[in-house]
Amino acid sequence: MIEFRDVHKFYDKLHVIRGIDLSIARGEVVVICGPSGSGKSTLIRLVNQLEPLSRGDILVDGQSVASSRGRALRRLRSQIGFVFQQFNLYPHLTVEQNITLALRKVLGVVPEDATVRAVELLDRVGLADKRFAYPAQLSGGQQQRVAIARTLAMRPKILLFDEPTSALDPEMIGEVLAVMRELATSGITMVVVTHEMGFARELADRIVFIDQGVILENDKPVDFFLSPQHPRARQFLRQLLSPLHTAND
């Protein structure tokens, strides 16, 4: 479904992604984790070309991302859902309009059908009553659920999440994870950058640990949590589990 082939990314001289090879099968849920600045966001932003590739290629359903331009690229992007850490809802539109805008203007769905889809999805994420609210009237957790609904409305083949719960107050993380849990079991292909190790342990088919732009671990959750091979992965897990005892490790 997604195949990274010797992927490199430079920001000017800064070599951020350094030769990544990775295959993700249809329906797989892959969690990507790693220390801050290791290149997790960059890696998934390469998949839909929010950042251009510097070298190598990514194949999405066999289609080369590197050589997709214009119409083909827009089509590819419309088939890949992306959920941002900062939600990025359109603040000038209502919740419903946030969901229907791209349906109508990108996919050409007629307004009535777009509305029906929006109402269905809002129901699915538990926000049917917020249909006419503006994003600024919603809590962070509600905004992120609308953002997920907006993404699902496009009926994407792949969902990419970039730390979807990191900007949320702790009491709101659960409601977003609940929606993601439901998605993970629905059979859609998901790539999730997250520090929520509970989600990873329970729902991931595979965990990819990256550090300084290279993959250090690529394991089933049990193996990753019980016997991580690489010392940096062991250190990362220790820090995550007991953040207070990290300074002199």
Partner: protein
């Protein structure tokens, strides 16, 4: 009190009153025409300025810099004395002819060198500023908005039209109103080329019956009234900022 005494009747009756009426109409017409032209030019310049092609960006930048950094009075004088002369002779003769159809209600001629030069000068000058205000509003939209739109499959122009520009307009609407108000006030400079707007008429009254104080007071009040009304109208036409502020007042069902 000394020698200070007012004679308002000397300004608000007879010929002076008729002149003032004509002045107000002329100011209103040139403001309206100039605003329409400014809007058109702003849209055009903004389109070029934010296009992804360098080739069309730099002419827009050049136009913006030229008209933003030179005095409007000089620009208006240029269009009237030099610019008009650059038009083909046939056009000039045609413009100078009498056109009954181009006579606006109230007896203000649309097709006169004065009206055209003033409209054109005000339109370009203000259009440049409006384009830059909206561009500043665009810069203030969070980059995440564009990323969200691109990730949904929007292209450059549709992303602008549906997502970025509505927010940019909301961000910049106050300064944009300021530019339209400026245009109205700056139309007084067209007195220098003999456009018979408010300032021109005030000076005519002053030389007719020396009622300088009264004439300028009335002129000032007229600008104030027009400006206030215009500001209110523009504020009402504008995008509602309230929807973008957390916890603000909303409209809608």
């Amino acid at each position: 009190m000394g020698g200070l005494s007012f004679d308002w009747v000397g300004v608000l009756s007879g010929d002076p009153l008729k002149w003032l009426e004509l002045g107000v109409l002329t100011t209103l017409y040139v403001t309206l025409a100039g605003s329409l032209l400014a809007t058109l030019i702003a849209v055009l310049l903004l389109g070029l300025r934010i296009s992804q092609e360098r080739i069309v960006q730099w002419p827009a930048v050049a136009v913006i810099e030229i008209f933003r950094n030179t005095p409007l009075l000089v620009q208006i004088l240029f269009w009237y004395f030099a610019g008009f002369g650059l038009l083909p002779a046939g056009w000039r003769a045609w413009i100078n002819d009498d056109h009954s159809w181009a006579m606006l209600p109230g007896g203000v001629g649309l097709l006169t060198p004065e009206f055209l030069a003033a409209t054109w000068g005000l339109g370009i000058f203000s259009g440049v500023f409006i384009a830059e205000e909206i561009r500043a509003g665009l810069m203030a939209v969070s980059p995440g908005q564009r990323e969200a739109a691109l990730s949904q499959g929007f292209g450059h122009w549709r992303c602008l039209a549906y997502i970025l520009l509505p927010q940019a307009l909301a961000n910049s609407w106050q300064p944009v109103i300021g530019q339209y108000l400026n245009l109205m006030k700056l139309s007084s400079l067209a007195t220098a080329i003999g456009l018979a707007e408010i300032t021109y008429q005030v000076r005519q009254i002053e030389s007719y019956n020396s009622h300088a104080l009264e004439a300028f007071a009335v002129g000032t009040l007229l600008y104030l009234a027009i400006g206030t009304a215009m500001g209110q109208v523009l504020l009402r036409c504008g995008p509602r900022r309230g929807t973008m502020v957390r916890g603000g007042k909303r409209h809608g069902p």
